[in-house]
């Protein structure tokens, strides 16, 4: 079973502060993704990566940056957090040839 772990699992941040959500996967997948989950909006893609050093914009990238320093790690960065970014964030990984996504446990972020 693919293993994707996220940290922190819960975070309270202040408006205007910087937040970094981290994701680590141990299944050697090339592709990694950040989604946010909100009631009424489902799962929406923020950023994704094809491999170390690459980051691509998803459907809702505004206000977010991503970093992929290695095959295993993919971070989501909120430089200036806003209350509208209060959400549950899921990291996922997937192989090149496959298309199934394996999700981490989620990170719940509250921006006050």
């Amino acid at each position: 079973e693919a293993a994707v772990t996220q940290s922190p699992r819960n975070k309270v941040a202040v408006t205007g502060g910087k937040v970094t959500l981290s994701c680590n996967q141990t299944n050697n997948h090339n592709n990694m993704y950040w989604y946010r989950q909100d009631t009424g909006h489902g799962l929406r893609l923020i950023h994704y990566s094809y491999g170390a050093g690459s980051t691509e914009k998803g459907d809702i990238p505004d206000g977010y940056k991503a970093s992929r320093p290695s095959q295993e790690n993919f971070s989501l960065i909120l430089e200036l957090a806003t209350p509208s970014q209060t959400s549950v964030y899921f990291c996922a990984s997937g192989a090149i040839s496959g298309n199934t996504l394996y999700f981490g446990e989620g990170s719940r972020l509250i921006v006050v």
């Binding site: 094809y50 298309n99 199934t100």
Partner: protein, 114 residues
Amino acid sequence: GDSVTQTEGLVTLTEGLPVMLNCTYQTIYSNPFLFWYVQHLNESPRLLLKSFTDNKRTEHQGFHATLHKSSSSFHLQKSSAQLSDSALYYCALTRNNYAQGLTFGLGTRVSVFP
């Protein structure tokens, strides 16, 4: 762009009755993969089943779905609901480039009562 439309909101049903969740999609890609993911309370989404083949029934854990490209549909069914089926269900679609991840519907919450 790609889109997925699911049965909206909350579906409540009694244990033992059949379940059907609708999913239709739009894509310019002629060979998409369609997925159903399930998310139980306080857990992450996990794959329930997927299909690529037109008009072929796919089954897993008592659930089944058939991809119909002619109607752009991939409805999820189960003959007899169990209490443990209470969860959030997402239909999803591959993008043109598989590496670009999945496009998800808004999700359908299912609550099964005794």
